[in-house]
Symmetry: C2
Subunit: 195 residues, 2 copies
DNA sequence: CACACCTATTCAAATAGTTCAGTAATAGCG
DNA sequence: CGCTATTACTGAACTATTTGAATAGGTGTG
C-alpha cells in the first residue's frame, strides 16, 4: 500500500534507477519504510503502468543498461493527495531483538550481554551513516539555516527522526547493560557490594 | 518467524487464552511485534501442534468457552535457545506518517500541521497507557528496587523502550511544528520577523 | 588470474500479514 | 426491545514481503 508512496516520495529527489532507489532505501528511507530491491522493481513496474512515473532507458558504456524513473505530474499529484490525508495505519515496529529481551530473564547473562553489545554497535554504526547523510544534506549550512531556508525540509526532518531513534537504541542498550551489572553484583543498603 | 517466539515470550507471564493474548499484544508487545487476533489464533494452533504450548479447554458460566494456553517445557526451552542466539533481522519500522512527512514540502501547511497534531496526540495517548502498565509492573516499588530485585526485568525494560519511543515521537512532532512556524514567518538577520 | 564484490535487473516460490465476514453468547443502556 | 459493546473464536481470500536463484559484464585486490 504505502510502498507506492514511499517510492514516489523518494523520486521527489529526482530521477533514479531501480538500483539507485534500492540504495536510497537502504541509507535513509529504510528508517521508516524498508524495501528490498525486488519489491522496488515490482513497484516501479506497477507505477509506470499506472502513469505515475515515467521510465526512460539509458544505455551505458561500461555498465548494464539502466532504466531511469521520474515522477509524472499525475504521480506528484497523487503523492500530494496522500500526504495531506489523515494517517491510516499507526507506526509498526518489528524488532526480533526486543522479543529476546522480553524473554531475557531465563537466559545466560553472558549471552544477553553479547546481544546487547552487538545491538549497540549496530545502532552506533547506523548513527554514523545517518550523520554522514546529514552533513551532505546540510551542505555547510547550520541546521537552523537549513530548516528556515531550504526548499525541502521533509528529508532532513525524517532523517533527524532516524538519528534520534538510533541514539535512543544505543542508550537503551547501555542502560540495560548497567542494570545487568547491578543484578550480577547486588548492593547492600549502604551501597557496598554484597557476598 | 518471530511471531512464534513473541507468543512464547508473552506466555512467560502465565497461562492465557487467545483473546487475552490479543489484549496483551495490544497494550505491550505491539510495541515491538504487532499481531492481529487472527494471526495469534493461527500461531497458537501451530504451537500447540508442535507441542511448544499446552491447551486446556475451560467452559465458563456466562461466557463462551475459552482455551487457555501455557508454555510446555519444550516451548520454554526453544524460547531460551532463540533468546540467546544472535539477532538475525534488524529492526524494521513501518511508518506511513513519516512517508507523508518526507513529502511534506509540496503540501498545504495546514494539512501538515493537522497530521502532526494528530500524531502527537496519539503518541501522548499511548504514552499514558504505557505509564499505567508501568505502574502496575512496579507495584509500589521504585524503578531501582524493581530492576535490582524483581524475578523478571525483561518486560519492564522493553516497556521502557516503548515509553522512550513514544516520548521521542511526541517531541519530534512538537519540533516540526516549531520549524513550520519559523518557515511561515521567516526572520531577518537581527531576529525580527520580516514582511 | 582467480576471487570477491559491484552494478543492474528479473523470475519464481514460499512465507507472513491483512481484511472481511461470520458465529454465538452476555451485558448494559435507554 | 433493539442497539451497541465485549468476550471468544474460526474461515477464506487476498495482499505484501522475503528468499533464493539466475543473468551478465565490470572493477578491484592479492
Amino acid at each position: 500500500m504505502s510502498l507506492k508512496y514511499a517510492v514516489l516520495a523518494a523520486l521527489l529527489e529526482g530521477e533514479a534507477s531501480g538500483y539507485e532507489l534500492s540504495k536510497i532505501f537502504d541509507v535513509s528511507l529504510a528508517n521508516f519504510w524498508p524495501a528490498t530491491p525486488q519489491q522496488l522493481y515490482r513497484e516501479l513496474e506497477r507505477l509506470a503502468g499506472d502513469g505515475l512515473i515515467a521510465a526512460r532507458t539509458v544505455p551505458q558504456e561500461r555498465r548494464p543498461t539502466k532504466r531511469l524513473f521520474s515522477l509524472t505530474e499525475a504521480g506528484r499529484e497523487q503523492l500530494g493527495v496522500f500526504a495531506a490525508e489523515p494517517t491510516r495505519r499507526p507506526t509498526a515496529v518489528r524488532d526480533e531483538f526486543l522479543i529476546k529481551m522480553q524473554a531475557m530473564d531465563g537466559v545466560d547473562p553472558a549471552a544477553v550481554r553479547a546481544l546487547l553489545e552487538e545491538r549497540r554497535a549496530w545502532a552506533l554504526g547506523k548513527l554514523a551513516r545517518y550523520e554522514r547523510v546529514r552533513e551532505r544534506l546540510l551542505d555547510g549550512r547550520t541546521e537552523e539555516e537549513h530548516l528556515r531556508e531550504a526548499d525541502r525540509v521533509g528529508p532532513y526532518l525524517t532523517l533527524a527522526a532516524g538519528i534520534t531513534f538510533e541514539r535512543e537504541n544505543a542508550r537503551w542498550c547501555e542502560r540495560v547493560l548497567t542494570v545487568l551489572d547491578g543484578r550480577r553484583a547486588p548492593m547492600g543498603p549502604a551501597g557496598q557490594p554484597l557476598g
